[in-house]
């Protein structure tokens, strides 16, 4: 009945959805933001610890949401560690393109990272679910820019 949904709900998504990585509070965070998707009621808090030279030393989150949003946040926290703010933002821009179109032609320079995010590409077929996948990245942007609130509205 749901076989064709394995594209969207790949095992890795279900796994990250059920057991999100870096799902904890970072008490000594340098940056943080809260992300909201008012439509779904998804909500997450994101914390970042930065290195002296401006790289992301650690990223963690807590919140509630669907498998897509939890998996996306989980994969994101794994992927951005070690990146500079610029790199993380660039990655976010590419990811949003991937989530909206299913492809990312210009992703050559970030091929490896995008590879890890690829399992979420299937969401582009579900317009109302794209925001679930991008909420974490909106929240990351907000945190990096010193805003306290992000919304995927």
């Amino acid at each position: 009945m749901f076989d064709d949904l394995r594209d969207l709900y790949q095992e890795i998504i279900l796994d990250h959805g059920r057991k999100p990585r870096n799902f904890r509070r970072l008490e000594d965070a340098d940056l943080s933001a809260r992300g909201d998707n008012p439509l779904c009621g998804d909500r997450m808090d994101l914390w970042l610890k930065m290195t002296p030279d401006g790289r992301i030393a650690d990223a963690a989150f807590q919140g509630r949401g669907c498998a897509i949003s939890m998996a996306s946040a989980s994969l994101m926290t794994e992927t951005v560690k070690g990146k500079s703010a610029e790199q993380a933002k660039a990655l976010g821009a590419r990811f949003r393109e991937l989530a909206m179109t299913g492809a990312c032609p210009d992703c050559g320079d970030l091929a490896e990272e995008m590879e890890r995010l690829q399992p979420l590409a299937g969401v582009h077929e579900f317009p109302s679910r794209v925001k679930c996948a991008t909420l974490a990245w909106h929240t990351l942007n907000a945190a990096l820019e010193g805003n306290k609130e992000a919304s995927s509205e």
């Binding site: 749901f2 949904l5 709900y9 779904c40 009621g41 949401g65 498998a67």
Partner: protein, 418 residues
């Protein structure tokens, strides 16, 4: 006459009436469409669509304004719609029917014109925990408006019924000026005991507004028998057009209320210094109304009336019984609300799937259900379901097979998420 109630009860010919709804014939992502979101908005029968088309192709002009043929015809059609709605609600007088955009605007109208125009500082509005945001936010805005009007909230029992003891307690001091509660919950399916609420409220000196957005679709409503002061519903849920809703209110209330929106058609005379208001309902219908939509709503009301309430209610009871039986048996599924008196709206949560993931899955099977908090966040918080629920809601065209199909899909969905 036949000899027993079972056999004499009229039946809906669902297969046949489904043919009136062109949209239901389609396939979605390769599967037969199973539309179970009528509670959010119902589909439209061709009788409604055709009435709107005829209005625009044959008899359209602005109303109340022209002394020429087309305008007279349009005015007649618009006012005939008012008459049909008045009969539908068993209102005493068509002038008690005010056309609005939807239920939301109807309630806001009361919050402004009655809440700000008639209620006094020190009085309170009493809502319930199971209100749709449409019947909560306008009252919060009134409370926060600095006019000294308080907001009280009646509790809901664990079964999802209005807690009448709490209602009595909150009415006891006589400060409640208006009880504003739903006539049927859009989440729990609960039908509230309207007559009792009205009796209790009136005894305590309070007026009553009933939000009939869901109830008017599922039950025959008689505003005089209920004894309500204000009643509202929304066209698009009653198989009618978008862009039109109804506020019914007793004429004596409408007479006392100042207008809400200002503009053309709601005034008796205008000078630069001051304006005099027209009598109701015109006083509350500023500007060009939703003429074509009123005509469509008339057709919708006729459609439902022609099918007949006994048949509609029997059909719904059968669906509700079936759904209760089938859904209760699903492991890991939590059903919200177990009211004695309920209509065809079921909200539920699976233990291993978020409602959004579940609704995406069901969509793939062609099943349209709604996921979220259904504009009733406080109610979801009340039941500890901040993440929301999925909701299946039935219409005239819903079949027992569709209910079965939903139940099967839910079992498979639980397996999918493992």
């Amino acid at each position: 006459m036949t000899d027993g109630p079972a056999s004499s009860a009229p039946r809906l010919d669902v297969e046949r009436l489904r043919r009136d709804f062109p949209i239901l014939a389609q396939t979605v992502r390769g599967r037969k469409l199973v539309f179970l979101d009528s509670g959010a908005s119902a589909q439209k029968p061709r009788q409604v669509i055709e009435a709107m088309v005829r209005c625009m192709e044959e008899r359209y002009a602005n109303v109340h304004r022209g002394a020429y043929f087309l305008s007279e015809a349009a005015t007649e059609a618009y006012e005939a719609a008012r008459g049909a709605v008045a009969r539908f609600l068993n209102a005493a007088d068509p002038r008690e029917v005010v056309f609005t955009r939807n239920s939301t605007e109807a309630i806001n109208l009361v919050a402004h014109a009655w809440g700000r125009g008639v209620m006094r500082p020190g009085q309170a509005v009493l809502v319930s925990e199971m209100e749709h945001h449409a019947n909560l936010v306008p009252w919060q805005m009134l409370r926060d408006d600095g006019r000294g009007i308080a907001l009280r909230v009646c509790r809901v029992t664990d079964d999802g019924e209005l807690d009448l003891e709490d209602l009595a307690a909150k009415l006891a001091d006589g400060k409640v000026g208006l009880v504003a509660v739903t006539h049927m919950s859009n989440v729990l399916g609960t039908v509230t005991p309207a007559e009792r609420i009205v009796a209790m409220a009136h005894a305590a000196g309070a007026k009553v507004l009933l939000d009939g957005s869901q109830a008017a679709v599922h039950r025959r409503v008689d505003v005089q028998a209920i004894g309500a002061d204000f009643y509202c519903f929304t066209g698009h849920k009653l198989y009618g057009p978008t862009g039109i809703g109804v506020l019914w209110a007793r004429l004596e209330h409408l007479d006392r209320m100042p207008p809400f929106l200002g503009g053309g058609d709601m005034i008796a005379s205008v000078t630069l210094e001051r304006s005099e208001w027209a009598p109701p309902p015109a006083k509350f219908e500023a500007g060009t109304p939703a003429i074509v939509e009123a005509v469509g709503l008339h057709a919708a009301v006729d459609y439902v009336t022609a099918l007949g309430w006994p048949a509609i209610e029997a059909h719904e009871r059968a669906l509700v019984d079936r759904a209760m039986r089938r859904l209760s048996g699903i492991e890991g599924l939590r059903l919200l609300g177990r009211a004695q008196d309920r209509g065809g709206v079921f909200s539920f949560a699976l233990d291993n799937a978020h409602p959004h993931d579940l609704s995406t899955l069901l969509d793939r099977a062609g099943i349209a259900v709604r996921a979220g908090r259904h504009c009733a966040e406080p109610l979801h918080a009340r039941f500890g379901l901040e993440g929301g629920t999925c909701r299946a809601s039935f219409g005239l065209y819903t079949t027992e097979e569709e209910v079965d199909f939903l139940a099967e899909a839910l079992v498979k969905a639980r397996e999918f998420f493992g």
